[in-house]
């Protein structure tokens, strides 16, 4: 059985290195190469590769961002490649994940590849790495995201969290309001709130989170609620339940 592999690295020479080494393994078919995280997310979803060589340090969306965007449970077996990243290496050790350190020898590469092969064929004692647990432990180091990946039709876009004005709950989704437009994201309010920097984002209602930088004023409203007027004129309600966390100002 041939394995279909995807190589993700922002440096052309680094991709070439892996391509050259893969050429020696006839059972691996290279189905694509990506130079950035956004392209990688799309390629993983479209091409459904069996194995991904994933560089960690990349422009805009890094390797872990790719895993998060695709979803740890939907991510194919992944071999992380990095030049130097102490946080990541610590997490890899904790979760007994194999990884490739640049520069690597052909021997080391094929050793890692053999193991990845066994993951893919489920033919060995090793468990497929638990990416969910890996992400969870990385989150302790870097709890807040500065970009969110959203889908518009079959396009993927990155939205900077600093550009978010407010976030609205919509059934199983959240609606991200960005200047003049909005995006749907499959995520829960509390799940998203946990990834946003609390210095900038606060929940003001069961169904609304605001970017504090985008608030223009507060006005008294009924029953202990407050009216929040955003810079773009949007009116939102700060309910009594959430008013407490504004105690420092109100």
């Amino acid at each position: 059985m041939n394995l279909r592999a995807l190589v993700v690295d922002d440096e052309a020479l680094a991709r070439q290195r892996i391509r050259d080494l893969l050429r020696r393994s006839t059972d691996i078919e290279l189905v694509g190469e990506c130079a950035d995280g956004l392209a990688a997310v799309k390629a993983i979803e479209d091409l459904r590769p069996d194995l991904v060589f994933l560089d960690i340090q990349m422009p805009e969306l890094d390797g872990f961002g790719v895993v998060e965007a695709v979803g740890a449970e939907r991510m194919p077996p992944t071999l992380f490649v990095t030049a130097y990243d102490q946080h990541a290496l610590k997490a890899f050790e904790v979760h007994a994940l194999d990884y490739l350190l640049k520069p690597f020898s052909p021997e080391r590469f094929h050793q890692a590849l053999d193991r990845a092969r066994r993951w893919c064929l489920r033919a060995g004692p090793e468990k497929v790495p638990d990416l969910e647990a890996l992400l969870a432990s990385l989150r302790q180091e870097r709890p807040w995201v500065d970009r969110l990946l959203v889908r518009q039709g079959d396009r993927h876009m990155l939205v900077k969290t600093s550009a978010l004005q407010w976030i609205e709950a919509e059934d199983n989704y959240v609606r991200l309001h960005v200047e003049g437009t909005s995006h749907l994201l499959r995520q829960t309010m509390s799940g998203l709130l946990a990834r946003l920097d609390p210095a900038q984002f606060r929940r003001i209602h069961r169904s609304a989170i605001v970017n504090l930088d985008c608030i223009k004023e507060f006005q008294p409203w009924t029953g202990g609620d407050l009216m929040v007027i955003m810079r773009d004129g949007t009116r939102l309600t700060l309910s009594r339940t959430y008013r407490e966390q504004f105690g420092e100002w109100l």
């Binding site: 440096e11 020479l13 680094a14 050259d20 640049k102």
Partner: protein, 361 residues
């Protein structure tokens, strides 16, 4: 100057001791006089001298004598005149005190005839010595002032050295920055197979680069040409790694090459431009390095066409550049960042030519 309580204790202590010393002198001169009276008189007189000395110190603090140069004759003259005036005034008060203490009677002490007779004699006996005291006060003040300045300069120099060592460290770390080094080695291992000549080339570039970091000059200021050679070696490697994504344009007129700039000062700026301006953009971009001068300033510009600097992200590299500039030029330089969202960032560094002209332009 902010004198502490401790210093004033010293000041008055010295006057007190001097008073006791002069009392013993009087005891030798006038063996018949009651000892207690001599002590009281001398201590009171020195109290007056101390107060007048405070006035001299206050004046010296406002109009200090900065040097022995002729151009400072005003300050010298001021202190000379004022010390003569103060000595004259002090001696008059001291004379009154001696009369009061001597006779123990106010009305008798202020007898005009007595005053007119005794005062000139008193002045002849004590004026020169007391003028010397006043000069000693002014001299001691200036001595202390110079000492403090010297101390402050020493501390400053130590700070400067520490900062430089830190910057050098940061530079070394950047150059030997694990990421940079390992990624470069990884690029070489790809080139070895695909393009052996390219691999060769890359190895020699890495060699050049490492050599320059090892040969970092011990002094703070280096000719611009050296700093640029260093930046070129760094960019030569980055260019291979970024491939066609990184374009570099340098505009540095030949006549500016020997002007002196703080070593490693450009590198954090270039690194920032690559990091925020280029590596975050898959399509890459252009880095522009320009140097120019006018009559007073050497202007260095680092420009990228990335997404535009956001002030909230002034990193440690820039912080260290600012700190070093502050210490070297004491505010006589400018570092400005201008970010236009979507258009790029322009970092402008203006250095005073007075410091850059170490070698004739």
């Amino acid at each position: 100057m902010e004198p502490s309580l401790g210093k004033w204790r010293w000041y008055w202590g010295i006057w007190g001791l001097l008073g006791l010393y002069m009392a013993t002198w009087d005891m030798v001169m006038y063996p018949a006089a009651p000892v207690l009276r001599l002590f009281v008189m001398n201590l009171l007189q020195n109290g007056i001298w101390g107060l007048l000395g405070l006035f001299l110190i206050w004046l010296a603090d406002r109009h200090p004598i900065e040097s022995f140069a002729w151009s400072h004759w005003r300050a010298w003259l001021l202190h000379l005149l004022v010390s003569v005036l103060v000595a004259t005034l002090g001696l008059f008060v001291a004379y009154l005190i001696s009369l009061v203490v001597d006779s123990g009677d106010w009305s008798k002490a202020f007898d005009r005839v007595q005053l007119r007779k005794g005062l000139p004699r008193f002045y002849r006996a004590y004026f020169h010595m007391n003028l010397l005291f006043m000069w000693a006060v002014v001299g001691a003040f200036h001595g202390l002032r110079i000492y403090r300045k010297y101390k402050a300069r020493e501390v400053e120099a130590a700070k400067l050295e520490a900062r430089f060592a830190e910057a050098q460290n940061v530079a070394l770390r950047m150059q030997l920055q694990p990421h940079f080094l390992f990624n470069t080695l990884n690029s070489i291992s790809a080139l070895v197979h695909a393009n052996p000549d390219g691999a060769d080339d890359m190895i020699s570039r890495l060699g050049d680069f490492l050599r320059m970091t090892l040969e970092a000059p011990p002094d703070q200021m280096v000719p611009l040409r050296k700093e640029l050679a260093f930046i070129r070696a760094y960019l030569a490697i980055e260019q291979v790694r970024f491939q066609d994504r990184l374009r570099v344009e340098m505009e540095v007129p030949a006549e500016l090459q020997e002007l002196r700039v703080p070593s490693f000062i450009l590198q954090p700026l270039v690194e920032n431009a690559l990091k925020h301006g280029l590596s975050d953009r898959p399509q890459g971009g252009t880095l522009r390095l320009r140097a120019s001068r006018d009559s007073e300033w050497l202007t260095l510009e680092v420009q990228d066409d990335g997404e535009g600097f956001r002030s909230s992200r002034e990193g440690t590299g820039l912080g260290i550049v600012r700190a070093r500039l502050g210490l070297i030029f004491k505010g006589q330089c400018q570092l400005d960042l201008l970010g236009v969202p979507g258009r790029g960032t322009l970092v402008t560094l203006r250095l005073p030519l007075a410091s850059a002209d170490g070698v004739a332009p």
